[in-house]
Symmetry: C2
Subunit: 116 residues, 2 copies
Protein backbone atom coordinates (compact mmCIF):
# COMPACT_ATOMS: atom_id res chain seq x y z
CA UNK A 1 0.00 0.00 0.00
CA UNK A 2 1.56 3.27 -1.11
CA UNK A 3 0.62 6.84 -1.91
CA UNK A 4 -0.32 7.57 -5.51
CA UNK A 5 1.68 10.58 -6.67
CA UNK A 6 -0.40 12.10 -9.46
CA UNK A 7 2.42 14.24 -10.93
CA UNK A 8 4.72 11.22 -11.10
CA UNK A 9 2.04 9.23 -12.88
CA UNK A 10 1.45 12.08 -15.35
CA UNK A 11 5.20 12.24 -16.09
CA UNK A 12 5.12 8.71 -17.52
CA UNK A 13 3.18 9.55 -20.69
CA UNK A 14 2.50 12.40 -23.08
CA UNK A 15 -0.55 11.48 -25.18
CA UNK A 16 -3.62 13.69 -24.92
CA UNK A 17 -7.14 12.44 -24.14
CA UNK A 18 -5.79 9.01 -23.11
CA UNK A 19 -6.72 8.46 -19.44
CA UNK A 20 -4.47 6.25 -17.31
CA UNK A 21 -5.91 4.36 -14.37
CA UNK A 22 -3.89 5.02 -11.20
CA UNK A 23 -6.19 3.56 -8.55
CA UNK A 24 -9.65 2.36 -7.69
CA UNK A 25 -12.37 3.50 -5.31
CA UNK A 26 -15.78 1.96 -4.72
CA UNK A 27 -16.07 0.48 -8.21
CA UNK A 28 -14.69 3.61 -9.85
CA UNK A 29 -11.39 4.16 -11.64
CA UNK A 30 -9.17 7.03 -10.51
CA UNK A 31 -7.51 8.31 -13.68
CA UNK A 32 -5.05 10.97 -14.70
CA UNK A 33 -5.22 12.48 -18.16
CA UNK A 34 -3.46 15.14 -20.20
CA UNK A 35 -5.76 17.21 -22.38
CA UNK A 36 -5.16 19.77 -25.11
CA UNK A 37 -7.46 20.93 -27.87
CA UNK A 38 -11.08 19.94 -28.21
CA UNK A 39 -12.58 16.59 -27.30
CA UNK A 40 -15.88 15.30 -28.71
CA UNK A 41 -19.35 16.22 -27.50
CA UNK A 42 -20.65 13.27 -25.52
CA UNK A 43 -22.68 12.28 -22.51
CA UNK A 44 -22.74 9.51 -19.92
CA UNK A 45 -26.30 8.37 -19.31
CA UNK A 46 -25.43 6.26 -16.28
CA UNK A 47 -22.83 8.25 -14.38
CA UNK A 48 -21.76 11.67 -13.23
CA UNK A 49 -18.36 12.77 -14.56
CA UNK A 50 -15.79 14.08 -12.04
CA UNK A 51 -13.08 16.55 -13.16
CA UNK A 52 -10.34 18.02 -10.94
CA UNK A 53 -7.76 20.23 -12.63
CA UNK A 54 -4.25 19.57 -11.30
CA UNK A 55 -2.44 22.02 -13.60
CA UNK A 56 -3.40 24.27 -16.49
CA UNK A 57 -6.91 25.35 -17.38
CA UNK A 58 -9.79 23.75 -19.21
CA UNK A 59 -13.36 24.54 -20.16
CA UNK A 60 -16.28 22.14 -20.09
CA UNK A 61 -18.73 23.28 -22.72
CA UNK A 62 -22.37 22.46 -22.06
CA UNK A 63 -25.57 23.60 -23.71
CA UNK A 64 -26.52 25.24 -20.38
CA UNK A 65 -23.27 27.25 -20.34
CA UNK A 66 -19.53 26.76 -20.08
CA UNK A 67 -17.54 26.10 -16.91
CA UNK A 68 -13.84 26.97 -16.84
CA UNK A 69 -11.57 25.26 -14.31
CA UNK A 70 -8.09 26.10 -13.05
CA UNK A 71 -5.79 24.24 -10.64
CA UNK A 72 -7.58 23.02 -7.53
CA UNK A 73 -11.01 23.38 -9.08
CA UNK A 74 -13.56 20.59 -9.40
CA UNK A 75 -16.62 20.20 -11.58
CA UNK A 76 -19.03 17.29 -11.74
CA UNK A 77 -20.98 16.96 -14.99
CA UNK A 78 -24.31 15.43 -13.99
CA UNK A 79 -25.20 12.20 -15.72
CA UNK A 80 -27.00 12.63 -19.00
CA UNK A 81 -25.68 16.13 -19.61
CA UNK A 82 -23.95 16.57 -23.00
CA UNK A 83 -20.51 18.16 -22.62
CA UNK A 84 -17.37 18.87 -24.60
CA UNK A 85 -14.07 19.36 -22.74
CA UNK A 86 -11.62 21.80 -24.34
CA UNK A 87 -8.21 23.18 -23.35
CA UNK A 88 -6.25 25.82 -25.26
CA UNK A 89 -3.00 24.75 -23.58
CA UNK A 90 -2.16 21.39 -22.05
CA UNK A 91 -3.94 20.72 -18.76
CA UNK A 92 -3.61 17.81 -16.36
CA UNK A 93 -6.66 16.32 -14.68
CA UNK A 94 -7.83 13.77 -12.17
CA UNK A 95 -10.93 11.97 -13.44
CA UNK A 96 -13.21 9.56 -11.58
CA UNK A 97 -15.65 7.34 -13.43
CA UNK A 98 -17.15 3.92 -12.79
CA UNK A 99 -14.74 1.24 -13.97
CA UNK A 100 -15.39 0.54 -17.64
CA UNK A 101 -17.04 3.85 -18.55
CA UNK A 102 -16.12 4.75 -22.17
CA UNK A 103 -14.47 8.21 -22.19
CA UNK A 104 -16.44 9.26 -25.26
CA UNK A 105 -19.71 7.89 -23.91
CA UNK A 106 -19.56 5.21 -26.64
CA UNK A 107 -17.52 2.01 -26.36
CA UNK A 108 -16.86 1.96 -30.12
CA UNK A 109 -14.94 5.26 -30.06
CA UNK A 110 -13.50 5.20 -26.52
CA UNK A 111 -9.83 5.29 -25.63
CA UNK A 112 -8.59 1.99 -24.19
CA UNK A 113 -8.47 2.08 -20.38
CA UNK A 114 -4.81 1.65 -19.45
CA UNK A 115 -3.48 1.07 -15.94
CA UNK A 116 -0.14 2.59 -14.92
CA UNK B 1 -23.37 25.22 -12.62
CA UNK B 2 -19.99 26.53 -11.51
CA UNK B 3 -16.49 25.33 -10.71
CA UNK B 4 -15.84 24.31 -7.10
CA UNK B 5 -12.70 26.09 -5.93
CA UNK B 6 -11.35 23.89 -3.14
CA UNK B 7 -8.99 26.53 -1.66
CA UNK B 8 -11.82 29.06 -1.49
CA UNK B 9 -14.02 26.52 0.28
CA UNK B 10 -11.23 25.73 2.76
CA UNK B 11 -10.79 29.45 3.51
CA UNK B 12 -14.32 29.64 4.92
CA UNK B 13 -13.64 27.62 8.11
CA UNK B 14 -10.85 26.72 10.50
CA UNK B 15 -12.00 23.74 12.59
CA UNK B 16 -10.03 20.51 12.32
CA UNK B 17 -11.54 17.11 11.52
CA UNK B 18 -14.86 18.72 10.49
CA UNK B 19 -15.47 17.84 6.83
CA UNK B 20 -17.49 20.25 4.70
CA UNK B 21 -19.49 18.98 1.74
CA UNK B 22 -18.66 20.94 -1.43
CA UNK B 23 -20.29 18.77 -4.07
CA UNK B 24 -21.74 15.41 -4.94
CA UNK B 25 -20.80 12.64 -7.32
CA UNK B 26 -22.61 9.35 -7.96
CA UNK B 27 -24.11 9.17 -4.47
CA UNK B 28 -20.90 10.31 -2.81
CA UNK B 29 -20.10 13.54 -1.01
CA UNK B 30 -17.06 15.53 -2.12
CA UNK B 31 -15.66 17.08 1.05
CA UNK B 32 -12.82 19.33 2.08
CA UNK B 33 -11.35 19.03 5.55
CA UNK B 34 -8.56 20.58 7.61
CA UNK B 35 -6.68 18.12 9.77
CA UNK B 36 -4.08 18.53 12.50
CA UNK B 37 -3.10 16.15 15.27
CA UNK B 38 -4.36 12.61 15.60
CA UNK B 39 -7.82 11.36 14.67
CA UNK B 40 -9.36 8.16 16.07
CA UNK B 41 -8.71 4.64 14.86
CA UNK B 42 -11.76 3.58 12.87
CA UNK B 43 -12.89 1.64 9.86
CA UNK B 44 -15.65 1.80 7.27
CA UNK B 45 -17.07 -1.65 6.64
CA UNK B 46 -19.11 -0.62 3.60
CA UNK B 47 -16.91 1.83 1.71
CA UNK B 48 -13.42 2.63 0.59
CA UNK B 49 -12.06 5.93 1.91
CA UNK B 50 -10.54 8.40 -0.59
CA UNK B 51 -7.89 10.91 0.54
CA UNK B 52 -6.20 13.53 -1.67
CA UNK B 53 -3.79 15.93 0.02
CA UNK B 54 -4.18 19.49 -1.30
CA UNK B 55 -1.61 21.10 1.01
CA UNK B 56 0.54 19.97 3.91
CA UNK B 57 1.38 16.39 4.79
CA UNK B 58 -0.46 13.63 6.60
CA UNK B 59 0.05 10.01 7.55
CA UNK B 60 -2.57 7.28 7.46
CA UNK B 61 -1.62 4.74 10.09
CA UNK B 62 -2.71 1.18 9.42
CA UNK B 63 -1.82 -2.10 11.05
CA UNK B 64 -0.25 -3.17 7.73
CA UNK B 65 1.99 -0.08 7.68
CA UNK B 66 1.79 3.68 7.46
CA UNK B 67 1.30 5.72 4.28
CA UNK B 68 2.45 9.35 4.23
CA UNK B 69 0.93 11.74 1.69
CA UNK B 70 2.01 15.17 0.46
CA UNK B 71 0.36 17.59 -1.95
CA UNK B 72 -0.98 15.91 -5.08
CA UNK B 73 -0.89 12.46 -3.52
CA UNK B 74 -3.87 10.12 -3.21
CA UNK B 75 -4.50 7.10 -1.03
CA UNK B 76 -7.59 4.92 -0.89
CA UNK B 77 -8.08 3.00 2.35
CA UNK B 78 -9.86 -0.21 1.34
CA UNK B 79 -13.17 -0.86 3.06
CA UNK B 80 -12.88 -2.69 6.34
CA UNK B 81 -9.27 -1.64 6.96
CA UNK B 82 -8.71 0.05 10.34
CA UNK B 83 -6.87 3.34 9.98
CA UNK B 84 -5.93 6.43 11.95
CA UNK B 85 -5.17 9.69 10.11
CA UNK B 86 -2.55 11.94 11.73
CA UNK B 87 -0.91 15.23 10.75
CA UNK B 88 1.87 17.00 12.66
CA UNK B 89 1.04 20.30 10.99
CA UNK B 90 -2.24 21.40 9.46
CA UNK B 91 -3.04 19.70 6.18
CA UNK B 92 -5.91 20.25 3.76
CA UNK B 93 -7.61 17.32 2.07
CA UNK B 94 -10.25 16.36 -0.45
CA UNK B 95 -12.27 13.40 0.80
CA UNK B 96 -14.85 11.32 -1.05
CA UNK B 97 -17.27 9.05 0.77
CA UNK B 98 -20.80 7.83 0.13
CA UNK B 99 -23.29 10.43 1.31
CA UNK B 100 -24.03 9.83 4.98
CA UNK B 101 -20.85 7.91 5.88
CA UNK B 102 -19.88 8.76 9.49
CA UNK B 103 -16.31 10.12 9.52
CA UNK B 104 -15.42 8.08 12.59
CA UNK B 105 -17.03 4.93 11.21
CA UNK B 106 -19.70 5.29 13.94
CA UNK B 107 -22.74 7.56 13.66
CA UNK B 108 -22.75 8.21 17.43
CA UNK B 109 -19.32 9.87 17.38
CA UNK B 110 -19.26 11.32 13.84
CA UNK B 111 -18.88 14.97 12.97
CA UNK B 112 -22.07 16.47 11.52
CA UNK B 113 -21.98 16.59 7.72
CA UNK B 114 -22.10 20.26 6.79
CA UNK B 115 -22.60 21.64 3.30
CA UNK B 116 -20.81 24.85 2.28
Amino acid sequence: MAAINLAQKLATFSAHWQPRVVGQFNGHDLMVVKVKGEFVWHQHDDTDDFFLVLSGRMTIRMHEGDVTLGPGEVFVVPKGVPHCPVAEEEAHLLLIEPTGTPNTGDASTAAPRRVI
